[in-house]
Symmetry: C2
Subunit: 152 residues, 2 copies
């Protein structure tokens, strides 16, 4: 469905949104450990997410790290996909044809378009903040570890 890059981007952003604020920034080590992802690769992906004021904010140097502004929290999840250039999942033909439309439908289009629409809704109508709120309510997971990792 999504590339590793997009998966890590989503997990990292949600994790940072959950735990990070402007005066409690998260370091790359904590993020990578928190979402169970390769550290250096995750750092690269966070660069995409921070570039030109996109989704994630960052500060270098001592006490630096990653966090999300209130503005960013209101962004749709789709903004994360855009940052890693993977929105096409929302628009693409399931058979990989160059065009997907009513005027040029593939044999699966009629059935697939409903799914596509819901995917679109999922990514466009859901904000990062909403996911954080849900996480606060229920007991949700964002890594593969057995129990939430204790801070040392």
């Amino acid at each position: 469905m999504l590339s590793k890059t997009a998966e890590y981007a989503l997990r990292a952003t949600i994790y940072i949104a959950q735990k990070g604020t402007e005066d409690n920034k998260l370091g790359i080590d904590e993020v990578a450990e928190g979402i169970d992802s390769p550290k250096s690769f995750t750092a690269k992906i966070l660069q995409l997410l921070t570039q030109n004021d996109r989704v994630v904010s960052s500060v270098r140097g001592r006490n630096g790290g990653f966090y999300l502004t209130d503005r960013a929290r209101k962004l749709p999840v789709r903004a994360i996909l855009e940052a890693v250039e993977e929105e096409e999942v929302i628009t693409k033909c399931v058979l990989g044809l160059k065009e997907c439309s009513e005027t040029r439908p593939c044999p699966m289009h009629l059935q697939y378009k409903a799914i596509k629409k819901q995917l679109k809704q999922l990514f466009e109508k859901t904000s990062i903040q909403q996911l954080v709120e849900e996480s606060n309510k229920g007991n949700l997971f964002i890594n593969n570890q057995k129990a939430p990792k204790k801070r040392s």
Copy 2:
């Protein structure tokens, strides 16, 4: 969403089901041209689809080629995904966690599970034959060419 391999596998199988029968087999050249895919690569993928009596049938030598048996036409589209080992799209966590379940849900699970269910239905409840029938009714496309290619 799907890999090129899976996309070509779906397109090739549907195309063969549409145009090929036991006494009108299709050659790899026609298939690749018909679905707008790289010939040699498509040949490799068709090997996966023919191996141990899976989805596509083939005969070598003069008058050889690819076709679908009546049994194969009744198979769910999922059988094609299985042949290229890509069923996981139906079961995987959208954030890439190793497990996706009610007992270990990620922050998007609640919303995504409905989509997953429909994807599952699409691939399991739809048979190859059904797609062919739909194609016969409507004017559907399975390649990127402007109009259906004339046979020379």
